[in-house]
């Protein structure tokens, strides 16, 4: 079952890409490409890239080296699109909050520089595991570096929103959640791959990657196609403490009453 070219392997490689191509078409038809154009490009490019790689692998098109060169080129383009997706999510998070837009931009730049430095250091210390075919090692190190940066930025987005108690747009939240899960998991597995851990059983890590990606595509389906619930117009708060009988108590009660309307 958990072997390369098993039925499950074929399904996990092809299935999520067919689903994400379908999702891209649905998003386009519903006009959501206007809100998330870069994410739509990410979905479309991912589906095309993986279909080409799948065909090259299964139909034995081109040499082994050609496959890894195509894989590398795809990872470079996808890496650039992923930065765009992060920018898009950050834009959605900050566009109605000008008060912290400047701070947010500075912080994400700083975090981006820090994780880029970490990725470069990690790449410098990564051994060349596949000496006979250097393009494999090169692709592994590229993906390790790419996911270190992506995972760091995705984590920053969630921490930033949580610190300022920002309410995510449901669709942006779904996209960020799916990407956060898949990028964290990919960071771990590509680091293991790049460093030659379980080199004889690294197809198990491929299964883990593909299964995680499948789950994330389903997450995107749920959040992007579920209609947003209307927000109640009036919300309530309650006081955490009981106050002595003075003016402050009266004002606080008034505040509570106002917020409970």
């Amino acid at each position: 079952m958990l072997q390369p070219h098993s039925l499950l392997w074929h399904y996990l490689w092809l299935g999520p890409n067919v689903l994400q191509a379908g999702l891209a078409i649905i998003l386009w038809r519903r006009g959501l490409h206007k809100s998330f154009p870069v994410f739509l490009a990410y979905l479309a490019f991912g589906a095309i890239e993986q279909s080409i790689l799948y065909t090259m692998d299964v139909a034995r098109l081109g040499s082994y080296d050609a496959f890894w060169q195509a894989f590398f080129a795809g990872a470079v383009i996808e890496g650039a699109i992923k930065f765009g997706v992060i920018g898009e999510l950050f834009f959605h998070l900050l566009r109605s909050r000008p008060a912290i837009a400047k701070l947010g931009s500075r912080l994400i730049s700083g975090v981006g520089a820090a994780v880029l430095l970490l990725a470069v250091v990690a790449a410098a210390y990564t051994p060349v595991v596949h000496r006979p075919l250097i393009s494999i090692s090169r692709a592994y190190v590229l993906l390790q570096s790419s996911y270190v940066i992506d995972c760091g930025l995705a984590l920053f987005l969630f921490l930033f929103a949580a610190h300022f108690k920002l309410i995510w747009n449901l669709r942006a939240f779904g996209i960020a959640l799916g990407l956060g899960i898949v990028w964290s998991e990919h960071m771990a597995t590509w680091t293991l791959n790049a460093n030659g851990v379980w080199v004889d059983k690294n197809y198990l890590l491929d299964f883990l990657n593909m299964a995680t990606y499948h789950v994330c595509v389903l997450i995107w389906f749920y959040f992007l196609l579920t209609p947003e619930k209307p927000v109640p117009e009036k919300v309530a708060t309650t006081s955490a403490v009981s106050l002595p009988e003075n003016n402050l108590d009266i004002w606080n009660r008034e505040l509570e009453r106002l917020l409970q309307q």
């Binding site: 984590l155 300022f164 899960i181 964290s184 917020l259 309307q261």
Partner: protein
Amino acid sequence: MSLAIVLVIAAIVALGTILRLALTQHLQVSRERAGQVGSIRPIDIEAFRNLVDSAEDEYLRQRLSPAEFRAVRRTRLRAMAAYVHAFSENAAVLVRVGELALASGDPHIAEASQQLVNDALLLRRNATVALARIYFALAWPYSSFAAVRVVDRYERLSGSAMLLGRLQNPAIAVRLSAPRAR
């Protein structure tokens, strides 16, 4: 290999953090949609102003021995941190109140909500910086520290909340802090 282990552990921690924050956010939004945003803690602004008064610090510095001054200063800084934490938490509640009110069809309420959200976010940002400075001052009690900007921002936030409150119900007045001592 050791760096690889660190990266794998970091990825697992990041995954756990993202899942936890996402779940917290999801549950919080569900609670808010049910009408429960959170609680506002009343704050005695005058007491806080006394705590951050540099003249009082100077007075204590002249009257107390260095060891006594450090002990007293640290106690005052811890009290200051508790106040700023309360400012920050109240601001967080008001961010949520304002963001939920943004959905209102009334343009005046939406505008007031936007103002409240902006002020609350600025207060939360300033409170974060103030807390960092207080913790720094805890390590070096002789360093000077001013949290006046936080106080000013809190008073402005109180004004924004009052405006939103008046627009939502003109009959009821709102304040977030105690009045100044007469």
